[in-house]
Amino acid sequence: MTRDLTRKISRGVIGIAMGLVYYALYVVALPVALQSATGLPVELRPPADPSTFLALFIALGVAEGIAPAIVSATLGLLSKVVGALYIYYATNGGVISAALAGYNVTINLSVLIYAIVAGSIVVGVVDASTRACEGVSRV
């Protein structure tokens, strides 16, 4: 009983860490990488407050850590989909504009954004199916 509770708590802590990793990747690192790549002072328009996404990623991470295998796999996929959608909406679908030294510059990064969105979903689906198969074989 105590061992089971300890295992759930440790999985919950790992879930918090995973939520922070997803937040750092999708809300911090990828937008910074896009700004560096374009060399423009890009103003991102997040669909909601970033703290909402932090809470959402942590909640999904904790739920992913303590839920049974198949549900956990689905929640893992959901975290990646939420992250991909954040990138898509924050960058206006990849079309970004900025005023720079007397010029208005518009760059269409939709190819890159679609690659990130598709990549996240594909990795999420493969990861979820692998974990679900592992969970079923364990039962």
Partner: protein, 124 residues
């Protein structure tokens, strides 16, 4: 190694490869703001027309494809610009159009290595 980790690494490398030409172009522009030079000259052709000569020069290493010059809602295809390329176009303008020409009437559209659409327009 889990298949999803291998796939994530492969997708990560693909995204990095997609990002690379844009990153190199941005670094080159930051180091040399005159990487893509535009020179505009106007000469009087006759009583009714003025010739606007636009000379484009490019010294970057990343090829720019489908380059289009936009002047007064007209666009001209200039093809591709490679390192060291120079292209000159002459646009006849009527004397009625020429005095009202503003900086924002001149724009440039191109693709960085055929992947990313970029549009640059001067602000009035």
């Amino acid at each position: 190694m889990r298949p999803s980790i291998v796939l994530a690494l492969a997708i990560g490398f693909t995204i990095a490869a997609l990002l690379l030409p844009l990153l190199v172009f941005a670094v080159e522009v930051a180091q040399n703001p005159t990487l893509l030079g535009i020179q505009v000259d106007a000469t009087v052709l006759n009583q009714s027309h003025v010739a606007l000569t636009v000379a484009l020069s490019y010294t970057g290493t990343i090829p720019l494809t489908d380059v289009q010059l936009m002047v007064c809602n007209r666009s001209m295809d200039l093809g591709d610009l490679h390192e060291g390329a120079t292209k000159t176009v002459t646009i006849p303008l009527s004397v009625d159009e020429a005095p009202g020409l503003r900086p924002s009437d001149l724009g440039l559209r191109f693709k960085v290595m055929g992947i990313y659409h970029v549009e640059v327009r001067a602000i009035d």
